[in-house]
């Protein structure tokens, strides 16, 4: 009996696996389609009320349309629409890999203090006029934010390499960093002039209106550099989720994998935050949504995280400019409002243990 059923079980097992993989691929394709749709809406909508035909003409025959139409499409709508995609993708990917290597569902650029550090760096510039890297004063704010974010990320990393430090300690360290930088930020705000205060408050709420083509290129380039790097280590990262010891026994150099991943994640988290300000929600929740949809296997989890983050922020970009026509609401505020309902639905309908 047992012998007779065995081949049947393997075939159903294989079929099940295939069906599962197919389901995941379909889900990822669906996300990709949704993302394209969201970008199209973001490009098509705006207070200038151009028709779809005008938008398309401007996209494909930029030279043939008037100055205003071209500027609106190419210099105002497109950088914002694409920035939403690259920033959302970067933050979500950074959060996903932080959660993987630290084996902690609460890890994200926001909860580990990287965003808070960036906010403090920006505030140093906005309030005190302090340039950490004085050679490029005109890019003072993003450079300050970037350097502080990198410093925080490297601190987390080197702490994590110390003897006897567990992943739990690292998360605690991250939380300590959040509080430290938030306290420093509040201190600066207390000392600030009204004008500077307004600028800092607005900066920390996050905004895509700062998007320009060079910023889109830079965030896009970092993303394109990071994805293949993670893809190459996909199996190793998946194995790491079984536990550090098991991964090591499978022949993975856990320390080195952590180091490389953390370095890349720092770049992924620091650069977008330095350009658009604090956007907290995507880096934490993007990966969780991806995990609930496609599971832990990095071959699916990696692209799903990227797409989830991109889709979340792209949809937010649409909402932030359509909620009050003509105004732009701070994206950091809207992200959570857009993402949370969807996240709740997933939590309550997903009976499987997500983490």
């Amino acid at each position: 009996m047992a012998i007779a059923t065995e081949p049947l079980e393997t075939t159903t097992g294989r079929d099940q696996y295939r069906a599962l993989a197919l389901r995941r691929i379909v889900l990822i394709c669906a996300m990709l389609v949704a993302l394209c749709f969201s970008i199209s809406i973001d490009m098509a909508l705006g207070p200038a009320n151009y028709t779809l035909r005008e938008v398309l003409t401007s996209l494909f025959y930029a030279e043939s349309v008037g100055d205003q139409l071209r500027v609106v499409i190419w210099d105002i709508r497109m950088p914002i629409a694409l920035m939403a995609v690259t920033v959302g993708a970067s933050l979500s990917l950074a959060g996903a890999q932080m959660q993987t290597i630290l084996a902690n569902p609460l890890a994200s650029p926001f909860t580990l203090g990287i965003s808070a550090a960036a906010g403090f760096g920006a505030a140093l510039g906005l309030i005190g006029g302090v340039a950490i890297f004085p050679a490029a004063v005109q890019y003072m704010i993003p450079i300050n934010a970037f350097l502080m974010a990198m410093a925080a990320a490297l601190f987390i990393h080197f702490a994590s390499t110390m003897r006897g430090v567990t992943v739990e300690t690292i998360v605690l360290l991250g939380i300590a960093l959040v509080f430290t930088f938030n306290a420093l930020l509040s201190l600066l705000e207390y000392l600030a002039s009204e004008q500077a205060l307004a600028a800092v408050v607005f900066w920390t709420m996050g905004s895509l209106t700062k998007a320009t083509w060079p910023k889109v290129w830079i965030t896009g380039a970092v993303l394109l550099f990071a994805i293949p790097l993670f893809a190459r280590h996909a199996w190793a990262l998946t194995a790491l989720r079984l536990g550090e010891d098991k991964a090591a026994s499978l022949g993975i150099n856990v320390r080195r994998l952590r180091l490389h991943t953390m370095m890349t994640v720092s770049l992924l988290a620091a650069i977008p935050v330095s350009f658009v300000g604090t956007i907290g929600f995507v880096g934490l929740v993007g990966p969780h949504i991806a995990r609930m949809l496609v599971g832990e296997d990095q071959r699916f989890f990696l692209p799903a995280s990227v797409l989830c983050g991109a889709l979340l922020l792209s949809a937010t970009s649409v909402v932030s400019k359509t909620l009050i026509p003509g105004a732009i609401l701070p994206i950091g505020v809207i992200t959570a409002l857009v993402g949370v309902p969807f996240f709740f639905v997933l939590i309550f309908t997903n009976r499987r243990r997500a983490w």
């Binding site: 006029g129 003072m140 003509g326």
Partner: protein
Amino acid sequence: MGMFGKVALAAVGLCALFSGTVLAGEKVVIKDVTGRDVEVSVPVEHVILGEGRQIYFVAALDRDAPFKRVVGWRDDLSKADPESYAAYLAKYPEIAKLPTFGGMKDGTFDIEQAVSLKPDVVIMNLDAKTATEEAGYIEKLGKVGIPLVYIDFREKPMENTEASMRVMGKLLGEEAKAEDFIKFRADSIAKVTDVLAKQNPARPVVFVERAGGYSDDCCMSFGNENFGKMVEIAGGTNMAKDIIPGTFGTVNPEQIIASNPDQIIITGGNWQGYVPGGNWVGVGYGADLTEAHRKLENLTKRPALTGVKAVADGNVHAIWHQFYNNPYQFVAIQEIAKWLHPDLFTDLDPEATFKELHARFLPLDYKPGYFVSVKDE
């Protein structure tokens, strides 16, 4: 009846006795801008300014020595209006040693320090009301006999500036001067509003950009209050009035192209300390207008202003950002009116109004530099 007469007589006698003994201070009841009745002995000799910018009022009343009664103040003047602070500091070097209270918005101060300075009155701004009440300062100060009054020239400047000036006049015993100032201000505004009411001209659409060039962000603006309101009084339509629900907000850069405003007014100030070499327009007390003009022109080249009517017609202007929280903002209203309706206000000279304000009321000498327009020079 006789009884009443006796009581009345006694009361009058008591009052006479009282006013005779308390030579320095006469107890009066002052209604502050929140409608509270506060008993204060006037004129006061020692005041704490709950906000440093209240010196704008005090200076107009105690012209010869504006700081003679100030025993402590909040440190916001040097941060919000560094040019004016520098000018006051140059003339009255002793203000560097005045005890200060920190903190910008929260309205908190060290009550122990306040009491130790023995003020006759503490003057707070209306914006600090919530924080002041939460901390129970009125009761705490009341226990040691220090009254607290609210004034306001920022939350609702159009409604509250006159009342605030009257309160200050009573407190400092300079009621005649306060009335002079109020009349000068009212007349200056009437020069704009009377003409507009009579001629009823078409209202140009005005985009007011808040602190243009301060950051990479384009298009912070104002809703119905603040500069938004000043534009409406000066005979314009504030472009963002139906877009921004509160006082501050950001409009979609594309909206400027869509609305195609007739006039653009960008607020500016010397923000070298915050954004060194930034694109902001550095107008203000004694500013370099050639440089400000160059920077203003530079701001018109941003994508959001492509092909906009105001840019094409050269109707892009910069104005000193601090007018928003300043009792001298009627000068700004005159200037904006002149920009929006040059034909109606050919005789109006805001520069001269500002000069007269300094000559008649203020301890500082007037220096131009508060306004610049792309059309200038």
